[in-house]
Symmetry: C2
Subunit: 205 residues, 2 copies
């Protein structure tokens, strides 16, 4: 082979040949592909081509296609896509945090570079792979549980249905974004949903 090794002299402390690609970069690329077209529609061959690696390197690094999807989901939820965590970090009342959450979704979900909606909510939608579905489902359940616990701080009686309201609204916004809705349309919805949430929260259960 005739590669120009970037740093062949310095020891890394790890035995064996060094990876010729950046794993984090690969996960980032895969994340975008899965997000743009859904889990099933992105093949291992395309991933390999896009990542610049051959199948053996792919499976040595990620174990399986679902393994890479799991890494992509981890990267997704650890970043700016974790909308509720970002909204909660700014503090405020339950109504304020939920409003911020919905408005943030309206800002983040519209199509940008072929990517729209939420990877967790829609990335494995209609997938034939049970493993991919289970990975996304676990994150969805954890997400709504987090929101429910947060709402329970102010409204323990109605926390369940109020969290469901937010979750279903988010699913609608993600689906709408994937169907082509722009930020203005999603923001209009988010504002109406926020007003609704505020009123429902204020009303006695």
């Amino acid at each position: 082979m005739v590669t120009t090794e970037s740093s062949p002299k310095e020891s890394s402390g790890v035995r064996g040949r060094r990876r010729s690609f950046d794993v984090d970069e690969a996960v980032e690329t895969a994340m975008k592909l899965f997000h743009a077209r859904g889990y099933d529609a992105v093949g291992v061959a395309e991933l390999g081509a896009e990542l610049g690696i051959k199948p053996p390197s792919f499976y040595a690094a990620f174990g399986s296609k679902a393994g890479l999807f799991e890494r992509a989901l981890q990267r997704y939820t650890a970043g700016e896509a974790n909308i509720f965590a970002r909204a909660q970090a700014e503090g405020g009342s339950v109504a304020e945090v939920i409003e911020r959450t919905l408005l943030l979704a309206a800002r983040l979900y519209p199509e940008r570079n072929g990517v729209a909606g939420c990877l967790v909510l829609d990335g494995a939608r209609n997938s034939a792979d049970p493993e991919a579905c289970a990975l996304a489902e676990a994150l969805r359940k954890a997400g709504v549980a987090t929101i429910r616990d947060f709402i329970a701080g102010e409204a323990p009686e109605r926390a369940g249905e109020l969290a469901d309201f937010v979750a279903i609204a988010m699913k609608g916004m993600s689906a709408a974004a994937r169907d082509g809705a722009d930020e203005a349309a999603l923001t209009a919805f988010a504002e109406m949903a926020s007003r609704a949430f505020r009123r429902e929260l204020a009303a006695e259960g």
Copy 2:
């Protein structure tokens, strides 16, 4: 062959061998399969096995997999799944019809026999086939246009965003149902969304 022809004596006026299967029944079966698992996840081989026909009969009758999907969508929208048409048929104000629409969705969308959500909204979600996506998208656009025109009768100024609110809420309910939400959860959402719609309609734009 040793088939027992059901009515070999009476002429049908059409030349050639008669179909050995009922096309409408086949479309019905295909509709359920597409609805349950999504367009891409249902293969032609499985459809043929389930319908009891071989590939040549399949393609002679439907032209292509997408052709059968189109027939399935037509059958779907012509039946009880056309929620808005059913809600509108009962008459009443815009707020009443929309409330009926959302509550009807909450009743129809939860999983029954492996089928959940809306075929038009989610049947081709994440599909790699542009034709299937285009068929579903056309029906989605027609549906929201119908709702917009109906709302415009009472609120011409805000008909666009109010119709979008309903459409996004329905997408959320369909997605939630496919994720396992039951009728109680969807009904709770539908009631909150209905109250929200009523208030937004009453408020001056």
